[in-house]
């Protein structure tokens, strides 16, 4: 029996440890894990936080970054920021969408509808690069899943049990709050900034957040840290809009399976009882 336990442990270690290790090292900057409302088995988004995060996205991020996979209708979807359909409609109407061609074969501009996707700030990749000295601001649709932080061993294994999946928002939060003057001896060009967590530290994005840059109407402190927290949560929702449903259904599924396992176990015991 002891041997079997060893096998199990070793297998778990090999199978799962490798993954978390896979991405490790390089930038040994420590990124702190933040408390998120959507972490854990009963995690859910904080509606007010997502709405604030949307404001930060709209007023700051969206001037440079696209978010092509998100549609205005998503804003009113359940498990999201909790905008009403009317609110989402009026948010959409704030955007100018290029549509067409019309009957005359010409493209035209109209205000956004729920079915539209968030328009990009630049016409295409080359236009964006031209605007940012060759750097391309990444699309933000799934950025919260396209970034992560290294857990290493043995923490990476504990993450299976603690269900840690918030490496993306943790990284984004750390990046947005990680600007510092360059250490002496490090030379930055005019279009580079020093960031403590960005790989290689030299980032082309100027510090996007400043205290008071976005107006919060609900009394939440208008600080860089708060903006970063809110927009990271918002981007997590954009990347994983069905997170709440997933966790809710997951809980039901696991309860079902536990009960099923118990029944299966006692059935097995009963059936085998006559053998011994």
């Amino acid at each position: 029996m002891a041997m079997r336990k060893i096998i199990l442990v070793v297998f778990a270690a090999s199978a799962l440890g490798g993954v978390s290790l896979a991405m490790a090292e390089e930038h040994e900057t420590h990124i702190a894990r933040q408390p998120w409302s959507f972490a854990g088995p009963f995690g859910a988004f904080d509606r007010a936080q997502l709405q604030r995060g949307y404001r930060v996205y709209k007023e700051v991020c969206s001037t440079c970054h696209s978010m092509k996979l998100a549609a205005f209708r998503n804003l009113a979807q359940s498990g999201g920021p909790g905008f009403t359909e009317a609110q989402a409609r009026s948010i959409a109407a704030e955007f100018k969408i290029t549509d067409g061609p019309n009957d005359k074969g010409e493209m035209f501009e109209r205000s956004g509808r729920l079915s539209d996707y968030f328009p990009s700030p630049d016409a295409n990749e080359n236009a964006a690069r031209a605007r940012f000295n060759g750097a391309l601001p990444p699309d933000l649709s799934v950025i919260a899943k396209a970034r992560g932080i290294e857990a290493g061993l043995p923490r990476g294994l504990f993450d299976i049990v603690t269900q840690y999946q918030e490496g993306g928002p943790d990284y984004i939060f750390a990046l947005l709050t990680g600007y510092d003057p360059a250490p002496t001896g490090e030379n930055l060009t005019e279009t580079q900034y020093w960031n403590n967590v960005y790989p290689g530290h030299k980032i082309a994005m100027s510090p996007p957040l400043l205290d008071g840059r976005v107006d919060y109407t609900d009394g939440t402190p208008a600080t860089v840290e708060q903006y970063a927290r809110d927009v990271s949560a918002f981007l997590m929702w954009v990347a994983e809009p069905h997170l709440e449903a997933r966790k809710r259904i997951g809980f039901q599924a696991i309860i079902f399976l536990l009960v099923f396992a118990a029944l299966a176990y006692f059935t097995k015991k009963k059936v085998w009882a006559d053998l011994h």
Binding site: L21, R246, A261, A264
Partner: protein, 423 residues
């Protein structure tokens, strides 16, 4: 495939069919009355788990295909469309992606169970070799499936792995171009990988049928590694093995559900949420966890061709296992030395997996070389030699002997000695 069965349907319609195609008797003989050793432990439930996983992967896969677009321009977005807009698309996709990992977890347990209990020995050589073929097909399928979302890791994994073939002397370059369908990994590569990813699982089903046929012909091995000698040694597959497999399967599903619903991206790499970009190489190109040991072997060898040969050799050597292992005793339970080497091999494989996740530099490479050498040493030297040097422990006379009370004789204390009873 059938065991002995006297089954006759009672229903007139079934009778009518049975006279023309004896399928009910066949199924009854294969999955109901089929005799299995009574001492199988829970390591023997992974065959059933794998069958279910294979079917589950095919079903989720077919539904995903209904929404997926295999073009380099649209693949990434169509996967996101599945995640966002398709009803329960997120569930399908996470089931399928994590299902691959779970499939490999189960198959590795299944393989190491075979290694520990000598499941590959006479008369189960063909059964074992079919298993190795399934494993190779699984690896090809999983690799091509990983390419389909067309993220950064998809693209660069495809580039690295297809480039391996360019190491083949003389025809290597042509083979690689043939695989790519062009001069680099691009649209034609994605499209053919998609076609093959859809095809190979059905080939796996075919080989699995042969695998099960061979299994039912020679009968299951068992933890003692001795052949079934009488009816007392076996129990009918249904209900005994069925209810036991069922319990193990549900437990496995709990683990599966944990990953799918709570940590669906744990097994994946964040870079695969970045759309494929042929102009930008990721800092580390890492395969999925289940390929890491083989990736470590590949990179341990400085010469590309030799590395590729070692990679394929490390899998191919398994097919020769029935002849490399010269011991007549199957189960490690009665082989004191082999048992220790088994655990060493397991640790070495895990070590290789760890090294596969590390950059190929410095001490990592040196350790990877040592472990790679040991891996082959185990199969090519230790196993053949062990059969001559090792003194196996005394085998029981029959499977049932330590398990069942003999008529009229005392059987005190036997149960305590045999942990398999509880299996």
């Amino acid at each position: 495939m059938a065991g002995h069965s006297d089954f006759e349907p009672k229903n007139p319609v079934l009778k009518w069919i049975e006279r023309r195609l004896p399928i009910f008797n066949f199924m009854h003989g294969s999955f109901v009355s089929y005799p299995v050793p009574r001492n199988l432990n829970y390591w023997w439930t992974f065959g059933a788990i794998l069958s279910v996983m294979l079917v589950a992967q095919i079903i989720t896969g077919i539904v995903l295909v209904m929404h997926y677009t295999p073009t380099s321009a649209e693949a990434f977005n169509s996967v996101e469309h599945i995640m966002r807009d398709v009803n329960f698309g997120w569930l399908l996709r996470y089931l399928h992606a994590n299902g691959g990992s779970m499939f490999f977890l189960a198959v590795y347990i299944h393989i190491f169970r075979g290694l520990y209990y000598g499941s590959y020995k006479e008369p189960r050589e063909i059964l074992w070799i079919l298993g190795v073929i399934i494993f190779v097909l699984m690896m090809a399928t999983a690799f091509m499936g990983y390419v389909l979302p067309w993220g950064q890791m998809s693209f660069w994994a495809a580039t690295v792995i297809t480039n391996l073939f360019s190491a083949i002397p003389l025809v290597g370059k042509s083979v690689t171009l043939f695989l790519w369908g062009g001069y680099s990994v691009d649209q034609p590569t994605l499209q053919r990988f998609f076609a093959l990813h859809y095809l190979l699982p059905f080939m796996i089903v075919g080989v699995v049928i042969l695998h099960v046929w061979a299994l039912h012909h020679v009968g299951q091995g068992n933890p003692m590694g001795i052949e079934v000698k009488s009816d007392r040694d076996t129990i009918p597959f249904t209900p005994y093995a069925t209810v036991k497999d069922n319990f193990a399967l549900v437990c496995f599903m709990i683990l599966f559900a944990w990953f799918v619903f709570y940590i669906p991206n744990y097994m994946g790499h964040p870079d695969n949420y970045i759309p494929a970009n042929p102009l930008q190489t990721p800092p580390h190109i890492v395969p999925e966890w289940y390929f890491l040991p083989f990736y470590a072997i590949l990179r341990a060898i400085p010469n590309k061709l030799m590395g590729v040969l070692a990679l394929f050799g490390s899998i191919g050597v398994l097919a020769f296992l029935p002849w490399l292992d010269t011991s007549k005793v199957r189960s490690a339970r009665f082989r004191p030395l082999y048992k220790q080497f088994f655990w060493v091999l397991l640790v070495v494989c895990i070590g290789l997996g760890y090294l596969g996740s590390k950059p190929a530099e410095g001490a990592y490479v040196i350790v990877a070389r040592i472990l790679t050498a040991y891996y082959f040493f185990h199969f090519l030297v230790i196993l053949p030699a062990l059969g001559y040097f090792e003194t196996p422990r005394l085998l029981p006379t029959s499977i049932s002997e330590p398990m069942l009370p003999r008529k009229g004789s005392a059987s005190v204390g036997i149960g305590a000695r045999s942990p398999d009873r509880r299996g």
